[in-house]
Symmetry: C2
Subunit: 338 residues, 2 copies
């Protein structure tokens, strides 16, 4: 292992100068800087991140905590975060909390607190007060993505507004019997996201003067399978079949499309279906949806954190811009048939 001393000797300068030249902290004349860089390259020198971290207190590493990995939203956020971090010379350490609470406790007790990360991104994860307290106590910036965390800067779309917009899209087309497929209480662990989307749906109906019909509300688990099952129940009933379905996620909306097909119903002629996400399969299924941009959310989370870690070094992140969403109308929604 070739160290900073060799580089210094080779370049004919001190180790301090090598450190400064390579890290960009502190002033070094352009000439020496070049000399050092050349020396480092020729010797194949790479800083020891542990030594560097120990001396500087900076890890150049941020922790990303997700509840699952096998979901489009989460992996997209991680991809976005990864890309932004790579650009800035940071590593991404991934903590996947799938499974029992023991894993979760372990992550907090022994990993995050082990001074391995400069900051933490919590994706769709409700942290306990204690967990937040401990992170704050360590001076670790923390940002949430995908749901509100008490007392923590969070990046999340306005679930109520988005659900309302989706429902209004259906109302605007002339639908009045609009069903909702949303999350069950069980799924409400993180952030009341299902609850908020239901609120948006109900608000839109109420504003349009349409009474809520509990018969038109089915629970599902945010998967294609779950959406399929729920839609079957809604669309299979002999009387009062809805003419439109608002599913709280694209996965469930896709399941609904498949359910409609299996029942011999045509989308959108017999039933219109709208989702939320703009999932990678949404276009393939012609699904009308409200796009959110999870990769962008991951990138933005990183920018916010880096801004906190190095104030003023980055383009000022617009902290208060609401997250973008976009209604994308494809072929799964139309005016109700006669």
């Amino acid at each position: 292992m070739i160290g900073i001393a060799e580089v210094a000797r080779y370049a004919g300068v001190s180790t301090a100068t090598v450190s400064r030249a390579l890290s960009g902290n502190g002033h070094v004349s352009p000439a020496t800087k070049l000399k050092v860089e050349t020396a480092a390259r020729e010797l194949g020198y790479v800083v020891s991140s542990t030594a560097s971290s120990l001396a500087s207190g900076r890890m150049k590493n941020i922790g990303v905590v997700v509840p699952f990995l096998n979901r489009w939203f989460f992996t997209s956020v991680v991809e976005g975060a990864q890309r932004a971090l790579l650009r800035n010379g940071y590593d991404l350490t991934l903590y996947n909390l799938t499974g029992d609470g023991i894993e979760r406790q372990s992550v907090f007790e022994h990993f995050l607190l082990r001074q391995r990360v400069d900051a933490v991104i919590a994706v769709s994860l409700e942290l306990t007060e204690d967990e937040i307290f401990r992170l704050h106590a360590l001076g670790k910036p923390l940002v949430g993505v995908g749901g509100l965390i008490e007392g923590v800067r969070t990046l999340a779309i306005d679930d109520i507004a988005v659900a309302r917009l989706a429902t209004e899209h259906l109302l605007g087309l002339g639908h009045t019997r609009i069903a909702h497929i949303g999350g069950s209480q069980h799924y409400d662990l993180d952030f009341h996201l299902p609850t908020n989307r239901r609120f948006g749906y109900e608000a839109a109906l109420t504003a349009a003067g349409i009474p809520l019909d509990p018969e038109l509300d089915e629970d599902a688990d945010f998967t294609i399978q779950g959406g399929y099952h729920a839609a079957k129940q809604l669309l299979g009933r002999p009387h009062g079949r809805p003419t439109a379905i608002f599913a709280a996620s694209d996965e469930m909306a896709i399941g609904s499309i498949l359910a409609a097909r299996d029942l011999g119903l045509s989308v959108p002629r017999d039933v219109s279906i709208v989702g939320i996400d703009d999932h990678e399969l949404a276009e393939f299924f012609g699904l009308s949806t409200i796009a959110q941009f999870p990769q962008g959310q991951g990138e933005k989370a990183v920018e916010i954190l880096l801004d906190q870690l190095h104030p003023g070094q980055h383009d000022q992140v617009e902290l208060n811009t609401p997250l973008p969403v976009k209604l994308i109308v494809r072929s799964s929604t139309a005016r109700p048939g006669e």
Copy 2:
């Protein structure tokens, strides 16, 4: 930040003893060990991983490099690896090589080599000789998952055998016009996986005395969309429609099922379809497939690496057990219709 010194003082021992007691390296009397553990807990002490790494040379961190994240196979491997690492007190640093080659170079130049990881898992990634050489030069164990890497211990199913098995399943049911949807040359970047699966398909047909028909071979990109498009071409032709399709991945097989439905063909009555993977949606679509177990592959990769890092400390990993695969027959395959 409370350090090892405080714990030592609090427990009335030396820092050396604290280190030994907490890390399990070296002998400490049960009594002192208990004292130290109590002290550490009461003071809320957590080792500084950077200091520990610098002093010991161990990072307790392994790097996982993937070409994408938004694919079921990759996230499954990562999940499995993560779980196994967590159990062993290791962190997982994720490198996603999506995008241009610059990212890739950057990962190798500035990240992996920065002494951040003890070992590397490369998932479905063909490494260059130079990349392998550099990792070996650093003494970093390396294991590949999902494809052979020259000169590197690799975990991969036998693609030829698996493809052959899938094809034989169709042959055994009595099919003779069996189409293949596989990867294009373009996708062949990593490991000739598509090529190997094609070989297996061809071998099965040849062994059964069935001549290969280039008309029955379509390229796709391993996505649902790609499989859909390819299957449409195969199933839409007026003459010589295949009675069965072997798709080289479940995503493409699912796309094929959807294509058949859209053409008004019934699966499996009009066309049988088999895939490879046992994707999370396979059961939902009733897809017959050859299961591989990516989570298990990720776990096993970790076990192999830990075994190399701490020889003899773990249950001996069976290095030479072939990776398990399993034919799962569901409702997408049947005898050909009349």
